[in-house]
């Protein structure tokens, strides 16, 4: 796993209540600090993590990606063969994988600022290798959108196994 994950960010929805950019900045800030990695801005072609935020219609038209109504954000990954590992943390079984690339899609939804930020921070966790979800309700990597978007020790410790 590299110590860097160059990112490309494309926000194409001009809506004051769409906090995608804030979410990306918050996610990058939290994860780089937590894992001691860097995330430099990059071109779309070279980026290991690509992030697209817009309306569901725009994302569907440009990329053909569909979302059901439960989806807050969606991350597709490609990973290194045979790199999926199952580990235990805090009594819960979790999985990590060594990623090559990841693409994050965040469709606009009329949800709170906090929930939108949480969604992007959560999806970055997947993009960095966190497979599946936490069963701890206070974790950002918990299964569903929640009010808190500050990474918890267990969120960090899980991925730190790769990055450290």
């Amino acid at each position: 796993m590299g110590k860097f994950s160059n990112t490309y960010v494309d926000n194409n929805y001009n809506m004051p209540t769409f906090y995608f950019n804030s979410g990306v900045n918050n996610a990058k800030s939290q994860w780089t600090s937590a894992l001691s990695i860097s995330m430099q801005s990059s071109t779309q072609e070279l980026a290991r993590i690509k992030c697209y935020g817009s309306t569901a219609a725009d994302l569907y038209t440009r990329f053909g990606v569909v979302f059901d109504d439960n989806c807050g954000g969606l991350t597709y990954t490609t990973y290194v063969s045979n790199s999926v590992s199952t580990t235990y943390w805090g009594g819960n079984r979790k999985t990590i994988q060594q990623l090559n690339r990841a693409t994050i899609y965040v469709p606009y939804k009329e949800i709170s600022y906090s929930d939108q930020i949480d969604t992007v921070v959560h999806e970055f966790g997947h993009a960095l290798g966190y497979l599946g979800h936490s069963s701890n309700a206070t974790d950002v990597m918990y299964y569903k959108v929640q009010n808190s978007y500050t990474l918890k020790a267990s969120d960090i410790a899980h991925l730190a196994q790769f990055y450290n």
């Binding site: 809506m15 109504d69 969606l74 299964y143």
Partner: protein, 301 residues
């Protein structure tokens, strides 16, 4: 001899390097899609559905790892009647915790069986037909086995106001009341297109008809069936609020235009609130050569 060895090495060395690079390529595997879920009850999902139907599964196709079911509609509760519909099961998983999680592809519809379907309709000129997906969760309601209905892999009654599903006749009544309840008025997601390939019809019904010069490709490699390009408007034949030399973005069918080429295109704007102006083709016959300028002009009123 020495020259022969050098010649052989010059042939073999690039080949060895090429094989090494290929090996690195095959080390990458397509992963999974992961989504963070926003919990919704059955009634909330029903309120978001564009289409609610009772349908009979008549065919199933697996293409490029994607499964698509064809349904004939036996009863329509909501949405536009478009004949048979095609329900896709997207390739991702949505986290609803260790105990509640789902994959749309978990659902298997049996050919010949009937189901109640709560769907989102996606419309795009770039696809062969409209795509419908389950509005959320693993909402699974077999018409002849109502008691086996599930949402998030659990009994539907656990995520619904329906107290009991034991009486099928009351369930059908509840279905109708759910469909008639206040709901999101959207008819589809995406951009509607003109359902004709007749040039006169396409031109007369298109919001924009522009002559454009194709610039750099954007979002390269992000979709298998389409390309998007930054384009420069060289003539406005039809349409308001757009000007010559303006840079816009247009998504085309895959490999149908060339960079630096000039074309006449009939378009629809994707959404007025986008940061960059993205346009979609207004029909499946909306790209013409620049040489057809005079002919196309004749169709514009």
């Amino acid at each position: 001899m020495k020259k022969t060895m050098l010649f052989i090495l010059s042939i073999l060395l690039p080949a060895i390097l090429l094989i090494s690079c290929s090996d690195r390529g095959t080390n990458e595997k397509k992963g999974d899609g992961h989504a963070v879920g926003i919990y919704k009850s059955f009634e909330e999902l029903a309120a978001s559905a564009t289409d609610i139907i009772k349908g009979k599964c008549i065919d199933v196709k697996n293409t490029d790892g994607k499964t698509e079911y064809e349904f004939s509609v036996t009863k329509r509760y909501r949405g536009e009647d478009v004949g048979n519909i095609f329900v896709a099961v997207p390739d991702y998983s949505v986290g609803i915790g260790d105990s509640l999680s789902y994959r749309p592809s978990d659902i298997v519809y049996d050919v010949g069986s009937e189901y109640y379907l709560f769907l989102l309709r996606y419309v795009s000129v770039y696809t062969e037909h409209d795509t419908y997906i389950n509005v959320g969760g693993n909402l699974f309601i077999p018409a002849d086995r109502i008691l086996e209905s599930t949402l998030y892999g659990e009994p539907l009654s656990k995520h619904s106001k329906i107290s009991k599903l034991a009486i099928q006749s009351s369930y059908v009544g509840y279905m109708k009341s759910v469909a008639d309840a206040p709901h999101n008025e959207r008819k589809y997601i995406g951009s509607m297109y003109i359902n004709s390939t007749d040039v006169a019809t396409v031109i007369s019904q298109s919001e924009f008809v522009l002559k454009v010069k194709i610039g750099e490709e954007v979002d390269a490699g992000m979709a298998a069936d389409r390309n998007s390009f930054k384009c420069t408007v060289t003539a406005v034949m039809k349409g308001n609020n757009i000007s010559i030399d303006e840079e816009i973005y247009i998504t085309f069918m895959k490999d149908t235009v060339q960079k630096d080429g000039e074309y006449i295109v009939a378009l629809t704007e994707t959404d007025g609130n986008l940061v960059r102006r993205y346009f979609t083709l207004s029909s499946k016959n909306s790209v013409f050569s620049a040489a057809e300028y005079g002919e196309i002009s004749d169709y514009i009123e």
